[in-house]
């Protein structure tokens, strides 16, 4: 496979796309938020429960979109569960910077771990928003906002 192609569509991404984790409605949920990318029609809802210590105790998502957006959402939910919202805020900014090529996850300090897999989108400007949509949505949910769009 082509370099850029194999970097973008790694097996893990394909797997999360096919069988997304935490792919369900969370009921009841403390927070929820809708994310929409009008360019490609990607639409996701993120649900969130946060305890009194500001720890995310549960998170889920539903919706539909391209493989990058769905895998990113799926991996995000597994990654942030059990984390403090301040930590998540930091991850949001790191992920965002990585997707835009401003942060090199191999050399710059970061906590992205297995989310580094999305570094490949930096080469494809049209796909950056696919990878970051769920993060914007989560961010908005935490901030108590209702709806985000990445356009």
């Amino acid at each position: 496979m082509d370099d850029k192609l194999s970097q973008l569509y790694q097996q893990v991404v394909l797997d999360h796309n096919k069988t997304p984790r935490n792919f369900r409605v969370l009921d009841p949920a403390d927070f929820e938020s809708l994310g929409y990318n009008p360019l490609c029609g990607d639409k996701y809802k993120v649900f969130l429960n946060i305890d009194e210590h500001n720890i995310v105790t549960d998170i889920s998502f539903i919706g539909d979109g391209c493989a990058i957006s769905k895998a990113s959402a799926s991996m995000m939910t597994t990654f942030v569960k059990g984390k403090h919202i301040d930590e998540i805020e930091k991850l949001f900014h790191q992920f965002h910077d990585m997707a835009q090529g401003k942060l090199d996850p191999e050399n710059d300090p970061n906590d992205l771990g297995r989310l580094k897999i999305f570094y490949g989108v930096r080469n494809l400007p049209a796909r950056v928003k696919c990878a970051t949509l769920c993060w914007h949505t989560l961010h908005a949910a935490i901030k108590g906002k209702e709806k985000v769009t990445t356009e």
Partner: protein, 422 residues
């Protein structure tokens, strides 16, 4: 004898200048480009087609030899610019067979032209309770302005239904008219489905009810011979960049009697005969609707693009594009899990499709990395997508310069995509 030789020479010269459709590809330097290390297969012509070098040369020529404002200078450069722009108007008039060059208004594109009609004709003629008919397959540019007008005036937007194949329901259309109907806005060729709508017949039906007709020809002019007098529509709009010309330029054709009665929309220089603080006397057509300095280079380029199309000829274009359409349809249909969206018998060289289990955006990226440029998404036709029950499609749109090899490249890349995602 000398006369004969002269005329023979003239004939041969004429032949040499006539562009052969099989060789027209050489006129488009961009098509030799590589992307991601692969030869470019440009199949996104419905979004913007490429420009032949005659268009680019005209563009550069204006900038390097006679760049000046139009209609205001007594100096030579300004006169040359003015006459080049007016020649372009005439060249475009001829292409769509308008009765007079006064009926050709330069705009920034099809969208701008529709907005001009909405702001000028629409606001003067549409009132509360009046009805505007459009179709399910309109581009957002022929929906949003009318939606805005309806909201402002309390008018009603009515929508012609379509079949699952993407064909308009003409019986439904014919029964939609009432004594409140004021306008029909209809797309000639659907940018998403390729469907060619029977605009002649539809205009005839509207005429019988004394209703004005606007035809959105953005996707028509590069593919089929347009004759606005035969269609008998009141308005016709198109964009330069969808007919081998530059971006930022387009036209509104409007019937002269109608446009003479229409109030100006934008005010400024060029659209006036005289100005005082108490009174303004407006200029005649077409300048009444061209306030401010126009996109002169764009207009000149669009005129050259019109001439380029005439030189190749619509017969040759139609033949070549229909051949590509048939070839691509056959090849794409053979791909497992692929479904073509839009199967009207009357269709231009546009193929939208969906593939089971693969989102169009992912297809678009795989194709891009294989050198194939297509468009993915809703193609600015969200209500159409909703009607068809899909979110997005991948769209391959072919122009006169495309080759079967490029379709093959598309098909190979699609196989790659299905391999990755299965």
């Amino acid at each position: 004898m000398a006369d004969l030789q002269e005329s023979l020479k003239a004939v041969n010269k004429d032949k040499a200048e006539r562009t052969d459709i099989e060789r027209c590809r050489e006129d488009f330097p961009i098509l030799a480009r590589k992307v991601h290390g692969k030869p470019l297969a440009f199949l996104d012509n419905a979004a913007s087609s490429q420009m032949p070098d005659v268009v680019m040369h005209a563009y550069t020529d204006y900038h390097s030899r006679y760049h000046a404002n139009v209609h205001r200078g007594v100096h030579l450069l300004s006169q040359e610019a003015t006459s080049a722009m007016e020649q372009a108007r005439e060249d475009i008039r001829e292409l769509i067979n308008a009765g007079s060059a006064k009926e050709i208004i330069f705009t920034s594109g099809a969208t701008d032209a529709i907005n001009l009609v909405m702001q000028s004709w629409g606001r003067a003629n549409i009132g509360e309770g009046d009805e505007i008919i459009i179709s399910t397959m309109e581009h957002h540019s022929n929906i949003v302005p009318w939606r805005m007008l309806c909201d402002e005036k309390g008018a009603v937007l009515k929508v012609i239904p379509i079949s699952d194949e993407g064909v308009l329901d003409l019986d439904a259309y014919a029964s939609m008219f009432s004594n409140r109907t004021k306008l029909v806005g209809i797309v000639y060729v659907s940018n998403t489905l390729g469907t060619i709508n029977p605009v002649d017949e539809m205009t005839r039906i509207a005429r019988a009810h004394d209703v004005a007709v606007l035809v959105d020809g953005a996707q028509a002019v590069s593919h089929l011979k347009v004759d606005v007098q035969q269609i008998d529509c009141d308005f016709f709009v198109t964009s330069g960049h969808k007919m081998y010309g530059p971006t930022g330029i387009g036209i509104l054709y409007g019937k002269q009697e109608l446009m003479e009665k229409m109030p100006p929309w934008r005010g400024g220089g060029d659209m006036i005969l005289s100005v005082s603080f108490d009174e303004v006397i407006y200029n005649d057509l077409p300048y009444k609707f061209e306030a401010g300095t126009p996109h002169i280079a764009g207009a000149i380029g669009m005129g050259k693009a019109a001439n380029y199309i005439k030189t190749v000829g619509y017969d040759a274009i139609h033949h070549k594009e229909q051949e590509l359409l048939m070839y691509a349809t056959e090849k794409l249909q053979a791909i497992d899990g692929l479904r073509i969206i839009g199967t009207s018998p009357e269709k231009s060289s546009v193929i939208s499709f969906v593939v089971d289990g693969i989102h169009p955006h992912d297809i678009g990226t795989v194709l891009d990395l294989e050198g194939v440029a297509v468009r993915t998404g809703h193609h600015c036709t969200q209500p159409l997508m909703e009607r068809l029950g899909i979110v997005a499609t991948t769209r391959a749109s072919m122009a006169m310069y495309n080759r079967k090899e490029e379709i093959d490249q598309l098909v190979t890349a699609l196989h790659k995509a299905t391999e990755i995602f299965r």
